[in-house]
């Protein structure tokens, strides 16, 4: 059986168990599924996030995610990859995105999920605007996200 790639960008929430079921459904060659769920954090105080609004570049976001999913498929023996990324307004405790990787073997599933997360953070065209009690503003990128992505670059 061939590998399945599913990519969705949506405002609606998603259900991780449904995504796992879709990835593993009717297959018996999968030994490991890794999921990474990114969740909106909140907190206490004036600078704590009360909501995020996610903006994306339609067309390019899908293309970038697909390109990295294909790259993961060539690097590791995966049976499937699913990536769902939400856009729009999200409050603390809600899902932002999920990456799922499936493989016969656990190391491949773990490594591919980490690779995809690092690349999505650094390369996928999404931007977060944050609301706090003190006001609103765009979240600044972290330089360590670039470094995390760079560790997967081939010489």
């Amino acid at each position: 059986m061939t590998a399945a790639v599913t990519i969705r960008i949506q405002t609606a929430d998603f259900d991780v168990a449904q995504e796992i079921a879709a990835l593993t459904n009717s297959r018996t060659d999968i030994g490991a599924v890794v999921t990474f769920s990114g969740i909106c954090r909140g907190g206490q105080g004036g600078d704590a996030t009360t909501a995020l609004t996610l903006e994306h570049y339609p067309g390019m976001a899908e293309a970038e995610i697909a390109r990295h999913a294909e790259e993961a498929m060539t690097r590791w023996p995966l049976t499937g990859v699913t990536i769902v990324h939400r856009v729009g307004r999200i409050v603390p405790g809600e899902n932002i995105m999920v990456v799922l990787t499936a493989s016969a073997h656990r190391q491949a599933a773990f490594q591919a999920a980490e690779f995809l997360m690092d690349y999505l953070k650094a390369h996928a065209p999404f931007w977060k605007r944050e609301e706090t009690a003190d006001g609103t503003g765009w979240i600044a990128a972290k330089t360590d996200d670039d470094e995390a992505a760079a560790r997967w670059d081939k010489d």
């Binding site: 570049y57 293309a63 953070k121 996928a124 931007w127 990128a141």
Partner: protein, 83 residues
């Protein structure tokens, strides 16, 4: 040539997209940023720190020295913060 702006670049310029016709001397992405900054205070503000600005041509990340010849769609945006 269609130009798109995202996140605070879009907010500073005050529009999400526009169609432009830069002069032929504008050959690279960096040249285009330089030319855009001459179009008004809102552009100068959006591109005040050009090193921070990321660009994509036809949905592919590009560098400031990338030629814009043949581009259908050029996008400018801040460093990405998805995931």
């Amino acid at each position: 040539m269609k130009v798109l702006y995202f996140a605070w670049v879009r907010e500073r310029i005050g529009k999400a997209e526009e169609t432009i016709e830069p002069p032929v001397a504008v050959r690279t992405v960096g040249d285009l940023i330089g030319w855009l900054t001459t179009r008004g205070d809102e552009y100068a503000y959006a591109f005040e720190a050009p090193k921070v600005i990321r660009a994509a041509i036809d949905h592919t990340h590009v560098r400031p020295d990338t030629a814009i010849a043949g581009a259908r769609e050029i996008a400018f945006f801040p460093p990405m913060t998805g995931g």
